[in-house]
Amino acid sequence: MTPALTLKGVSKRYGRGAKALDAMSFTIPSGSIAGFVGPNGAGKTTTFSVVCGFLTPDEGDVDVLGQGPFVPGTFKGKLGVLPQDAELPDRHTPVELLTHLGQLQGLGRGEARREADRLVELVRLGDRRNARIATLSHGMRRRVAVASALCGSPPLVLLDEPLAGLDPAQAYSLRDNLAALRGEQTLVVSSHNLGEIERLCDWVVMVRDGRCVREGPVAEVTGATAVSRWELGGPVPLEALRQALPEAEVEVEGPTLVVRSRGRGVGEPDQVAKAVMACLVEAGVPLRGLSRGVGLERRFLDDE
């Protein structure tokens, strides 16, 4: 399947300053929800701006949806973006703005109006649909901006810090809405909140100093398919486990059993889990907790 987004050796320097992007290269598979993570100044926002054509790269190639670099005229309605630092045109109401943007994406007026109505309900702004954007709170404006990115259901959507400034209930609701798009649209979500990325995304790209330092399925990057920790309420049946899992490293850390798979096959974690459970049941050892991998945050910090 054609990747939704590919960057190869993209570099960008602002004036005579340091490189904001330094041979940035990564691939986002179609239909995934990809996390785009990195510290401040890593180049996340610059990357999004280059992909959208707001900034011209000094070198390198950008391929959007397998059709080359983004050009507004030919990509009408195929790319949605939530820019992190762009203010909304605030003289209009959310419905007016979204209708206008929908029309610019090629929708007819009636269709664009219906899409605007759908989106304001999606981001829970139905009661402020006809209020000037200038009168909305920061969180509400953020939701209008998210709605603009989703307008017309583009196949590729870039969201730069979509949950920043939202209260917990709004963030939960929006995360649910974004998760529901899995498989239908490709979402690239930039965020500092790695827990949020881990919950929402199935693919992750880690960037640092303008370069991609790690990319792949979230489960693989965090080691969730390779490491599992079992908190037990009794003595560990170590010998039985080692016999049942000859291809794995089985260790005991206090009351915790740690199983490390040597391979990284997708089906393997389930086989490991079945074998461990069978041993525990046979030995009559109660299970008090289970965790997989090291967590995205740990992985990110380990890489520093």
Partner: protein, 297 residues
Amino acid sequence: MRDVLLVAWFELFRAVRTWRAVALLVLYGVASAGAAYLFAEFVGLLEQAIADQLGVARTETPGAMMQDLLDSEQLLDVLSAMTGSSGVAEQLLDIPLPALFFLWLGFLLVPFFAASASAECIATDTRTRAIRFELLRTSRLELVLGRFVGQLLLTAVASATSAVVIWAVTLWAMTGVPPAPLAGWLAYYAVRTWFFAVPFVGVGVATSQLTTSSAWARVMAIGLTGGSWVAYGVARWMEEKERVPMLADLALQLLPQGWIRDMWSPGMGWLGSAVACSALGLAAVSLGYLRFHRRDL
């Protein structure tokens, strides 16, 4: 083309909801009202002078001696000064005087209004990056042309507002001016002032593409507009004195003011000037676009 019209319509709504544009519009309306009132007073003074010359009683309300005024040398002198040509002035005597004043005032004020209002149409959105929401969906060229057309629509609103204000003030302050013909002439001349404003809207849109500061864009636009009047004066002087006639002729072709004389034409001669002014406006926008289409936004 569809995108240009969509952006233009959205731009017009944005502009009329921006306090600066509304303030400029109101200011322009107030200036028109004040100028119309002063013009009526000026007509009254001319009529009093004519009454004194004829040895008849002075009239209270301006316009009461309109026919005598139209026959007078004083009025011809005034019109010659306004149009820059005594030949053209003689052809205009059948047209209601307030309409001629409106056209003269429009040539003088509309350029500054147009340049000032349009100077912020792109710069502000570039600074706040609000421009990105539209630029993701339409090309830079269509966006710039859309904003240009939107500002032209705003200028049309300003010209129409000025015409309505002058019509109302004239009917209130003067007598002997038939309302319907005056309204017709004002509407007709509003179109001419609008065409004359096109190059100055172009200048505003051009400067707006060069910077992210709307204040700086406005300073440049107003400076260039004022500078064009100075350059026009110099070119006319060079033409009269026959100094470097080729340069003077070229300047008069490239400056919007060089087309004013034809704009006064009572026939259809002004249409050529309208085309020239439109071309100058597009040329100005294009000069700004040379920078805008390459810059990082």
